[in-house]
């Protein structure tokens, strides 16, 4: 076990979205002083533009960012010097959400409908795969970029379904606004399972020691939440009560608490290989990136 | 045919009382000429008759009436001291602007009747600018601009014509010719003319007034005999010019 260092390392971490229960372990680690104890000083930033974090990491403007596995694969295949540097949520959260009492009862009903999404770049692969058994594909639906307006665009009927909205969060948000949603889980419809939220760092300049310390603290945060979900919620909530203490976060917390990766520094390269090949198959990436550079060798 | 009466009119710009309790009649079908020192209030008086003194900082008293009981508005043609030509309109368009302003048509380019167009060309010929019909005002000389403004006023063909130094920027010969032309065209109309040239006033005026003092007062009218335009060789005219110049000089010594 590494001893706390006299000289704490500084890290800036940019989130992929505004703070929500998905970031539980990070916030808990921050609040309970795990970072300090592990010898890192972490500055957390929220993004205004969801596409900015990877670029900032690649340009060494921030050290770490929360990102999506599919997006990392794409970025790496575009030659950005990005690499996996830890896992936050190790299962897919994404899915296709429709209104429960809407006209869409099965994926077969999706033909010709519109889907709102917050761009991630693998929509085509996902939709093609999900719709294949029903005899149509991504080009048979209308995709609409709705930016930050995921749940509201569905509730106002501007779109018939959502992609890129999370089962633990947007589903609850719909519920809260008296619109029950129903999710078609993508990993149950042929899409290879993947890590929804990961940490990324610059593959060339990453400070592995700092990242190791960081992940240790995040690991302790995840452990704490797994062991004391109620207590974890309070810690999370109290970190910024005016922004975080609300019904949505409370409900989302419950649905998120058991999804955090308990081994953030562990990696299943096979999953990355499979998902990359999946993307390649649907033409979303030109070549499968080199896993050696795309996965930081932490230990 | 109707007289125009000014009843005890008065006007002040802020603290500056230009005139007060002034009475004046413009006789039907006659030329009334107004002389007076620079800044005494001639233009102001003319604007008052033209109904152009409704700005907020101007205090107005008295009334302007016509003795046929109808309002004066809509029956005047006004020529201002500045030529006020529209810079974007050709000479011809400037002359016919009144006609076009009055057509109630909603068209892109209210077509003028060919009769009106002929008349406009005729006016231009009379002021000697027929070959400038398609030119913009910015390409004219000072005197040419004034002649266009004059042509515009004459083109209006209204029963009452108010002119503020219409010949001021013209050379002596052109001036005489245009005076004759105006007399001819405006025969039978009621004309009020401001001028700085005593001879011009005597040549054209049925009644010549002199505005003077602060607040300004009108002197008694001088009424030169004979038909207008009078010949300048006329001996009586020269005598009257003496009287007039005396009056004008007297003013200076007063002021």
């Amino acid at each position: 076990k590494e001893l706390p260092k006299e000289q704490p390392k500084e890290l800036t971490l940019m989130l992929e979205w505004f703070i929500n229960p998905d970031h539980g372990p990070i916030i808990v680690a921050q609040q309970k002083g795990y970072f300090e104890q592990e010898g890192v000083k972490v500055t957390i930033q929220e993004p205004a533009d969801p596409d900015l974090p990877p670029k900032l990491v690649a340009a060494n403007d921030v050290d770490l960012a929360v990102y999506y596995q599919p997006s990392l694969i794409q970025a790496a295949s575009e030659g950005l010097p990005l690499a996996w540097a830890g896992t936050l949520v190790a299962t897919p959260l994404d899915g296709l959400i429709v209104l429960k009492d809407g006209p869409i009862k099965s994926l077969a009903d999706m033909k010709g409908k519109s889907i709102g999404f917050s761009v991630n770049g693998s929509e085509k692969a996902i939709l093609d795969t999900m719709f294949k058994p029903y005899g149509f594909g991504a080009e048979d639906v209308k995709t609409v970029n709705v930016g930050w307006n995921l749940s509201s665009s569905l509730m106002t009927g501007r779109v018939d379904a959502l992609l890129g909205a999370y089962r633990n969060f947007e589903l609850n948000s719909l519920e809260l606004h008296k619109n029950s949603g129903k999710m078609f889980f993508i990993e149950e419809h042929g899409v290879p399972p993947y890590d929804e939220l990961i940490f990324i760092a610059n593959s060339k300049t990453a400070d592995k020691e700092a990242i190791r310390r960081f992940l240790r603290a995040v690991e302790r945060g995840a452990q704490f939440i797994a062991n004391n979900p109620e207590e974890g919620w309070k810690v999370f909530r109290d970190s910024k009560p005016e922004a975080l203490d609300n019904d949505l976060n409370r409900m989302a917390w419950i649905d998120t608490a058991d999804r955090f990766a308990l081994r953030p520094a562990a990696v299943d390269k096979g999953r990355y290989q499979r998902y990359a090949e999946f993307l390649k198959e649907f033409g979303e990436i030109k070549q499968v990136p080199d896993l050696k550079t795309m996965m930081l060798e932490l230990y | 045919m109707f007289d125009v009466h000014l009843h005890k009119v008065g006007l002040a710009y802020g603290d500056l009382q230009v005139f007060q309790q002034l009475d004046l009649s413009l006789k039907a079908g006659q030329w009334t000429c107004l002389l007076g020192g620079s800044g005494v209030g001639k233009t102001t008086l003319l604007r008052m008759v033209a109904g152009l003194v409704d700005q907020s900082d101007i205090r107005v008293e008295g009334r302007v009436t016509c003795d046929d009981g109808q309002p004066l508005a809509g029956r005047i043609a006004w020529m201002s001291q500045q030529d006020s030509l529209l810079p974007w309109a050709t000479v011809l368009d400037n002359i016919t602007i009144g006609e076009r302003l009055r057509t109630r048509k909603f068209l892109r380019r209210s077509r003028l009747s060919s009769e009106a167009l002929d008349r406009a060309h005729h006016m231009l010929e009379l002021v000697g600018l027929d070959e400038k019909a398609r030119v913009l005002p910015q390409n004219l000389s000072g005197g040419q601009r004034q002649r266009v403004a004059l042509a515009r006023t004459l083109f209006e063909d209204r029963p009452v014509v108010l002119m503020d130094e219409p010949f001021g920027a013209l050379d002596a010969i052109t001036r005489l010719n245009l005076q004759d032309m105006a007399c001819d065209l405006l025969a039978g109309k009621t004309v009020m003319l401001i001028t700085h040239d005593p001879l011009e006033a005597l040549r054209l005026g049925h009644a010549v007034y002199h505005l003077r003092g602060h607040p300004a007062q009108l002197t008694d009218a001088i009424t030169p005999p004979g038909k207008i335009p009078r010949s300048l060789d006329n001996a009586e005219l020269m005598t009257l010019q003496g009287v007039l110049l005396d009056r004008l000089r007297h003013e200076e010594s007063v002021a």
């Binding site: 596409d51 930016g147 | 109630r104």
Partner: protein, 251 residues
């Protein structure tokens, strides 16, 4: 000779910008995922010409519709302010409030109100364009030389005729400034609209490309957009010069 050179200059400037860009990218070693070099952008423009063209058409349509409506509303607002003097103190704050609320901030909500189709982008463009046009046109109309108005009054011109023959031409130079601003600002409206929610258009394409980190495609779209709006500007400028010939002499 000099006429032909006049057309050449913007082209030279354009080439200059490209060289500068290439120089900066190479010189400052800007990583290609932040700014790609012009050569690869150009390659993308050629290889994806069809795609770019298709999306450009959408954006252009939004821009043109927005411009038309925005200018129309702007001018109407200016006329209302000038002619209905008593309405002015009520309308002006209203107008201000509509502007003071940044459409950008409102964009997401606008999308919900008007849908993800063209309508919402046109509305955004209109909202952005409207104010410069209205302000400039209003100022122009207000500043009509009093002598001309007096003249028109004595001539017994109806207010429509006075507007058309006197006030309007005299306000044209000021309105022209407003239009120049509007034309240049119009793409912002359309693109932000697309950025916030859409399924077509250059803004949408840029967002897609950006998310996939196809930075060269993103800059290709940007270039096309820039070309569109520079073209629009020069076209408008030419048109305005035709419409206001009595101004050119002052140069």
């Amino acid at each position: 000779m000099s006429k032909r050179f006049a057309v050449l200059k913007p082209l030279l400037v354009f080439i200059g910008i490209l060289l500068l860009w290439q120089g900066l990218v190479v010189g400052l070693e800007v990583p290609s995922f932040i700014i790609p070099d012009p050569v690869s952008v150009f390659k993308r423009m050629v290889s994806d010409a069809g795609l770019l063209w298709e999306h450009a058409l959408v954006t252009m349509a939004e821009m043109l519709m927005g411009l038309t409506l925005g200018v129309l509303f702007g001018v109407l607002m200016a006329l209302t302010l000038v002619y209905f003097v008593s309405l002015r103190p009520w309308l002006l704050p209203l107008l201000l409030v509509t502007q003071a609320i940044p459409v950008f901030a409102l964009a997401p909500v606008l999308m919900l109100w008007f849908g993800y189709g063209m309508a919402s982008k046109v509305i955004m463009t209109v909202l952005i364009i409207f104010f410069p046009v209205a302000t400039c046109c209003y100022d122009g109309l207000r500043q009509t030389h009093q002598g001309w108005l007096d003249l028109a009054q004595t001539m017994g011109g109806g207010s429509w005729a006075v507007l058309r023959l006197v006030r309007w031409p005299s306000a044209l130079p000021a309105l022209a400034s407003g239009l120049r601003v509007a034309v240049v600002v119009a793409p912002i409206g359309a693109v932000v609209g697309e950025w916030v929610g859409s399924s077509a258009g250059l803004g949408y394409l840029m967002l897609q490309a950006n998310a996939r980190l196809w930075v060269d495609l993103m800059f290709a779209a940007l270039t096309v957009l820039a070309i569109c709006s520079v073209g629009l500007y020069y076209f408008t400028d030419l048109l305005l010069k035709r419409l206001i010939p009595w101004q050119t002499s002052h140069h």
